[in-house]
Amino acid sequence: MDFTFSEDEQAFRAEAAQWLSANIPAPGSLGSLDTKEGFEKHRAFERLMFENHWSVVSWPEEFGGRDVGIIEWLIFEEEYYKAGGPKRVSQNGIFLLAPTLFDFGTDAQRARFLPPMASGDEIWCQGWSEPDSGSDLASLRSSATRVDGGWTLNGQKTWASRGAFAEWCFGLFRSDPEQERHRGLTYFLIDMESEGITRRPIAQLDGETGFAEIFFDDVFVPDAQVLGDVGQGWAVAMATAGSERGLSLRSPARFSEAVKRLYELLIEREGEPSAPLTRLADQTAQAYCNAQAYELQTWWTATSIREGNGVGPEASATKIFWSEMDLHIHQTALEILGPNAALRERDGSLSDWLDGFLFSLAGPIYAGTNQIQRNVVAERLLGMPRK
């Protein structure tokens, strides 16, 4: 056990911090990811990061990364959130698809897809859920039919974040109609400009179009865009499912930075906390301890991953923890703000805390509801009976 950062790690941190402090755009200046204009501004920042090799630090250099390990990736994330970095418009691609491409893609696929993914030139959206397949992903019905040189896709996907503007989509389709549930699915990479694709943006609670429904009407996808083996889509998708539940989408710095702001908000309302704490100060202390615990558990997991262990069902525990912590942080902030919390700004926009609260409400729902994750923890970490 050693919590000291090596000289290399410290140098990496310093370099990242320096570049980020000089280049991170002013807060709010990129606008909302969910508008076309904001989307393009975010994309431009991704390109700037890519050009300076900060977009995907843990990737091999040939694809635009720095070939550093998971520890350095976490260091980068810490500095990114400390510097107030914006949401990553490319996150579906670089965090959710890329690990699968590295594990299951062909050399040609990696060469074709990874660099524009990292540069933001091609933004990806996810095509997992269908209207009748939310938590029960294995029930999906969108189909892939064998045709000459590829497949024809039909059906409907939903909850595709970034789906309103993305260039590419990755998703699972039923390639063998005879098979049920987890069998007979294939993983496809789909050009969103293909003929037969219609997208319908879906507005969220905040009125902005966070996701889209995607309709597939005889969409042709060539064989070169099948990821992994035909019929093995479930295994391919699940091999890296831990990425979404676990640390890659929710690096600890996001929460520790949020807790610092929460503490400032508390002091504004109640002054410096002193013992015995008030209820709101105690809730803030809970948020603080949870964020610290999450950071430490992340280093623990990262060490384990670096030493060759995969991400197991612990990722379900992680997903439960961060999503409920995020909700708790934002609920506490709204309580501190009191009756003004539910107001909009004069221009009709949402305050950062209210916006964050609405976003945090989605946490226990997406990437497998927390109900499903608790089943996984009980069955796979504790060996409780399935039925």
């Binding site: 009748d132 939310g134 029930s139 009756p339 107001l343 009709g348 989605a362 729902i365 997406y366 109900q371």
Partner: protein, 360 residues
Amino acid sequence: MRFAFTDEQLALRQGAEEVLEGTCTPADIRAIYDSGDVAQGRSDLRWSALNDLGVLSLLAGEDVGGLGFGDVELVGVLESGGAVCLPEAVAIHAGVAVPLLQSLGAPLASRLSEIIAGGSAISVGGVDSDLSGPVVRWFDGEAHAERVEGVSRAAFFLLASANDDGVLVSFVPREHCVIERTPSLDITRDLGTVTWTPTPPTTIASGDDAVVLIDEIASRSAFVAAAELCGVVDAMVTETALYTKDRQQFGSPIGSFQSIKHLVANVRVGLEFARPAVYRAAWSFATQDDRRHHDAALAKALASELGLLAASTCLQVHGGIGYTWEHDLQFSLKRCWALASAHGDAATQRARAMVLGLSN
């Protein structure tokens, strides 16, 4: 001792429900959401229909044109309004402004009589609920009341203010006020900041009288919000339970999964225990019982906590679809969040209830 409604009281609630069923449909609320402006709603129709039913002047005496009923009759109507996310500030008008003007007796009787006859709306501002008692706006020439409900429709405002000389309650016609509307997450809440200059002609209470009146405003505002919350939670939990019968996952309706059952059951249990507290507060106001401030705080404490629990639970049970603009659940969610913090949140009100109830 009899803690139940009479048939007449239940009939009045049903009458309000029927009017609202016709005039305040989910499509009406959606029209407001989609336009982004509560003033676009079909509010005149609704307001008139409720006025015709006598709901707006339920607590005014028959001598001024009211029905001469009490809060026990009103509380069911308030719940009905909550259930449909009523955009008009009926609760504040009928449950706060009218009974307070009525309580001031003769001097205000002719004004009240005119208002009732004209079907005008009164709104209330300048009072916040807090454990230390009502907080009113400091002013220097001008006074500002924030988060006043129903500003677009109100023809009169009952406004509290304070400066170094003491505390005042004013009754101010709309034309003497500057109104700036405040956008809210719950678009159907017609909020705004009211700015006015307190003058002797508009003063209806000062000094100790004003302090007493402000205390009544704070407690009544908490009570009516608690009643609305019970209404919205009842509607939400009923709709959510129905949704769990229809939505299939893993080959079964999601309502058959125990984890979903227990989440929804917790909301139902909370409602079972919040409602009697709201009804008791109604009786305390109706009889001017000394316990009314305590009872209002208790009712709001329970209802606010329930509202937040209901919102997060019902959203979680609906999953992604509940998170969308196109699903009507958002109306109730946003109403819950707004009402839970308005007029004293759960923590503030439970502190108030405990101190009023136990410290002697």
